[in-house]
């Protein structure tokens, strides 16, 4: 019996070791190393690593550029969470209520989710191009030529353009989750409300939306995390520009760490980003769960 138990333990170990080893070596070890490097002035090349205490963090705190990137990241995230969820709920309501070609519509709304940020960023770059872009051409066509703008080249519109194209890309993902939520709402509830004389907007406001609370928690946390980490679209659409107008924290980590060879500083930024994601996620989950319970 003892021998059998021992052999079982060996099997467990053999089954676990590949995952354990890979995960420890290529996720945990570099994360710890990152935490250490954030206190150094390492350039990524030299063998000597100087420990400089909290200097990197002090620099982050004082840097105009980082503050600007933090501001961009927070604006981007706040606006994206609201717009993506609003768009996703609207799409889910449409797909849920439409009588014909429901699966086709669902697929069309979902498809942009599957594309890489690079590919979709490129498509939007061309649509928004000042001289040859479709958007400006359309504006000309319908006689609104005065609204034409350099959508990606001007600091005023660049962030807006990135936000709108990201909503287009991501909304379908959350739509699927909301659709599952909508299907869990018993029809009797809205029917009863309709008999009591509630209009469609009232039905949505007082019944459907509150009952989507669970989906809302999941979707807003997911969209928040992915917005904080947004990278590909910025790389291809604006490269952080014009100036620093669309530079986000992830983009700085990449630029400073690989472009400017200041990897100690880069890891310090990465740690700040990590903590930011952690803190905001925990707060958000707490708040939304509390709201769910109250409902």
């Amino acid at each position: 019996m003892a021998a059998k138990r021992k052999s079982r333990a060996t099997h467990t170990l053999v089954f676990l070791i590949p995952a354990l080893a890979l995960y420890t070596l290529f996720v945990i070890a570099p994360t710890l190393s990152s935490a250490y490097l954030s206190f150094t002035s390492w350039d990524g090349v030299s063998t000597k690593i100087h420990f400089i205490g909290f200097d990197n963090f002090a620099e982050i705190w004082n840097s105009e550029r980082v503050r600007n990137a933090l501001k961009n990241t927070l604006i981007l995230t706040a606006v994206l969470v609201v717009l993506e969820n609003a768009a996703a709920i609207a799409l889910a309501m449409l797909v849920d209520q439409v009588r014909w070609a429901r699966n086709l519509f669902r697929s069309v709304f979902y498809f942009p989710v599957l594309l890489s940020g690079i590919v979709m960023g490129f498509v939007w770059t061309i649509i928004l191009n000042y001289n040859f872009g479709v958007l400006n051409q359309l504006l000309d066509l319908i006689g609104l030529g005065s609204l034409k703008a350099d959508w990606l080249g001007s600091p005023r519109f660049a962030l807006v353009s990135i936000i709108l194209s990201t909503v287009w890309k991501q909304a379908g993902y959350y739509m699927i989750i909301y659709l599952a939520g909508l299907q869990g709402i018993p029809q009797e509830l809205t029917e009863a409300a309709a008999i009591d004389g509630a209009g469609r907007w009232q039905q949505f406001k007082s019944i459907t939306f509150p009952l989507l609370a669970g989906s809302l928690t999941v979707c807003s946390v997911l969209s928040m995390i992915s917005s904080l980490k947004i990278f590909d679209q910025i790389a291809v659409m604006t490269d952080g520009g014009p100036g620093f107008a669309t530079e986000t924290l992830t983009y700085i980590v990449y630029k400073v760490g690989f472009g400017e060879l200041r990897q100690g500083f880069g890891t310090a930024m990465a740690m700040v980003l990590f903590l930011l994601i952690l803190i905001i996620t925990v707060i958000q989950v707490k708040l939304l769960r509390k709201r769910e319970v109250q409902l």
Partner: protein
Amino acid sequence: MEKRRRFHDILIFAVTLAVAIVFFFPIFFNLMSAFKSNPEIMRDAIAFPKSFYLDSFKYLLTETDFPRSIVNSVILTAVSIVFMVLVIPMAGYAIERSNAKWTNYAFVYFLAGMMIPFQAYMIPLFKEMKMFGLYGHLAGPIVVYVSGSVGFGALLYTSFLKGVPREIEESAEIDGSSKYGIFFRIVFPLLGPCTASMVVLNGLGIWNDFLMPMLVLPSGKPKTMVVEIFYYVGEFSSRWDMIFAGTALSIVPILIVFLLLQRYFVKGIATGAIKG
């Protein structure tokens, strides 16, 4: 009442259709422009192609490194997925079926990984890859993809395994099957739906990934499709026809796989949502 209902249905349909057209336009625009020559694109971006212009595809597929980058993308995605659905279910099985306490700790340890964003460990990772000789090889990203998916994968498989009855395994054990035989012949096939979600979710992420292949694969040589397209945007900044052809070539396989495996994508999201 009946009439009003009908009117409402048509109204909803019209609105949905309008939104769908706006939604599909960028993709349609891209696929359409791939069949236009460069002067045609510059002259009138909205116009339909005058003829079926295939030269940009021909050029991309014969004169550039694009075919090689397609092969790289396929290898990277396929090999990573194979290792993922081998290594992770094994770990999940060991955790779920063991009564030992330390496997619980291992599970919590894996879950912690779900909270760590890639950017947090990206910079030291490259140093580490150089140390292991993985830098500059396709094996580099593969190892990192597999390692990075352990956290979420372990959660997915252990929760799925809770619903798989142990009795089947016990009777196989009495019949004299080895532990490995039981896992690979009996348990693994039962994990099918879970594996399908894994394949779809991670496969898509790897196929579309940009940062890792761009930074890890050797410069000067073809990397992956997405990276190649990114370079074209800089290199051929005035040759939009090339870029359109390249993006079209990357969209079409996704479109085909999506149409074939649609239900797995939808299910994959439902399980992915639990992650949050």
